[in-house]
């Protein structure tokens, strides 16, 4: 086969075939255009403010290594004045995280970026090895997920950083879109396809936080994914041609997760038609626009999305009247859904907790007659109200003129819905966990609750004699 010439410089031998457009380009041109596209993504979405402090969620893996490298390069090249730091979470998984942390340490030296490592051990008194030893290999991903989320926010707050960036790439987002489609979890689509998400207080009370001297608390950390439109293949190629040092192994505790099925589908699709990955991402963004927000209007997913906003309409009967109530329930929902998602991905049972019942991630809607078509399971949530009775439980098709997409979360609120329909709306306030101060609508946040369970069962060690 005659060698191809780079289509950009028309000089060197072509080395890469770009999945998004089949362009044939040489390695130097590839590196250049890859960096330019990321810069374009960042500037066109106004992702960063000049002089902003940014924490790069760094695991030592390919995505976060490339992210750190590219951000550093672009920051220097375009003089964005960003203050970059690496933030790494040590879950305490021997044979996996300890090795990848070595890679992060090398990155820190190589890119001359300060590194902060936050460990589960220091935050919670439990490493994942200890958690798994205690509870076994089922459900451990739940703990890891809940803990990590807090850990990232806490680490950022410790650094005085209000913005965390992660290395999620186009393949990740495409997989998430597919996963949520397969599970019918449309609210989650909105967040998965947003390049920037933030907690409610970040958008609500800028003034309050500034009054505190602009102090960053763990409740107002923004998250973004600058690599969202970058193909995983190109990230690997970038790392290869720039000879970047990264770590590549699966977590030793990761079981067959649901995401694996979505990943297989995406990878096979890429084989046939590589442009599909970005097409799926864009479709996800478009679909997310159809999902109604708290006021019942379809919202744009491309803008900064309130992190827990869409969970609100899942709470039947909450009315959404008082912003604080809305926000507190969102936070609670968010944590529950995250937990369920982790459990779903882990293929484990989700926690059964009164009053809301979720068994194996399935909805158990007693209103649903068994012989109805699957669409009957979808209920329409408008303005936070549950319109079960008006929807397709009689087996009819959705009228085609309805613009909004009926949504329903995995979280079955059946019993709580019944309770809230009849009983007065429970007043929940956005507050802080009394144990750790993390954002929570409950007195005690999810992480503390999990910890309590762990600590109670912890075997007494070190019986001292004499």
């Amino acid at each position: 086969m005659a060698p191809h010439i780079c289509q950009l410089c028309n000089t060197s031998r072509a080395q890469i075939l770009r999945p998004k457009n089949h362009a044939r380009i040489c390695a130097p041109c590839f590196i250049d255009i890859f960096e330019r596209e990321i810069a374009e993504t960042i500037t066109s979405t106004n992702l960063f403010q000049p002089g902003e402090r940014i924490a790069i969620g760094a695991s030592g893996g390919k995505d976060s290594t490339v992210l750190a490298s590219v951000l550093k390069t672009l920051n220097d090249r375009h003089a964005w004045g960003l203050d970059l730091v690496l933030l790494s979470i040590d879950e305490g998984i021997t044979g996996y995280r300890d090795h990848s942390l070595d890679a992060v340490k090398r990155n820190s030296v190589e890119y001359d970026l300060p590194l902060k490592i936050v460990s589960y051990e220091e935050l919670y008194g439990w490493s994942m090895d200890q958690v798994v030893a205690q509870i076994g290999k089922k459900g451990n991903c739940t703990y890891c997920g809940v803990f990590r989320r807090q850990a990232l926010d806490r680490g950022a707050a410790m650094l005085g950083v209000g913005h965390v960036v992660t290395g999620h790439n186009a393949d990740d987002v495409a997989e998430t879109v597919l996963m949520n489609l397969l599970r019918g979890d449309l609210p989650r689509l909105g967040r998965a396809t947003s390049i920037l998400t933030s907690t409610p207080s970040a958008t609500m009370s800028r003034k309050e936080t500034e009054a505190d001297g602009g102090e960053v608390t763990i409740t107002n950390v923004k998250r973004s994914k600058p690599l969202m439109y970058a193909y995983e293949k190109e990230i690997v190629m970038y790392a290869h041609y720039k000879k970047l040092d990264y770590f590549s192994t699966e977590c030793i505790y990761s079981p067959e997760a649901f995401r694996g099925s979505a990943r297989t589908l995406i990878k096979n699709l890429e084989r046939i038609r590589p442009e599909s990955i970005l097409d799926v991402v864009r479709s996800g963004i478009d679909m997310a626009k159809l999902v109604p927000n708290a006021e019942g209007h379809p919202k744009g997913a491309a803008e900064a999305v309130i992190r827990n906003e869409v969970e609100d309409e899942a709470e039947g009967g909450c009315g959404g009247s008082n912003a604080k109530e809305v926000v507190s329930e969102m936070a609670q929902m968010e944590q529950k859904l995250r937990q369920d998602e982790q459990a779903e991905e882990a293929g484990t049972e989700t926690e059964i907790k009164l009053p809301s019942k979720v068994l194996d991630g399935q909805r158990h809607d007693r209103d649903l007659k068994p012989d109805l078509p699957p669409e009957a399971a979808l209920t329409t949530y408008v303005q936070g109200q549950n319109h079960d009775r008006h929807s397709q439980t009689d087996g009819q098709q959705l009228p085609s003129d309805i613009r909004t997409v009926p949504i329903r979360t995995k979280q079955e609120k059946k019993s709580s819905r019944k309770a809230t329909r009849d009983a007065p709306v429970p007043k929940q306030r956005l507050g802080q966990c009394e144990r750790c101060g993390y954002l929570s609508s409950q007195a005690v946040c999810k992480a503390c609750m999990l910890l309590e369970g762990l600590n109670k069962a912890r075997p007494r060690t070190g019986i001292e004699v004499g």
Binding site: A14, Q15, I16, K233, R263
Partner: protein
Amino acid sequence: MAESSAPGGYPIPITVEFTGGLELLFGNERKHKVVLPARLENGSSPNISFLLGYLVDNLMQDERKDMFIMEDSVRPGVLVLINDADWELEGEDAYELQAGDTIVFVSTLHGG
């Protein structure tokens, strides 16, 4: 496989590299030197397709061959570089190997 100097040409020495976690399947060694026969039994020259089978049969020290191979080709998610260029530019499985070639297999199937 016999590396005989069968009529038709000299044996083909190449370098094979594994990264992205694949090295675990091959004794934790990234670089391997392999010599392929000049001609296969059916008279054709060894190509990537042949190389895959050869690697699985002769070099792989792990049971999990489905991390590398799927059906008759590489598993989707594993990138192949032929002399530092995307194999899609060189004909993928059908590319015929030449002496001194470097083939790199990079797995992308792990956390980032």
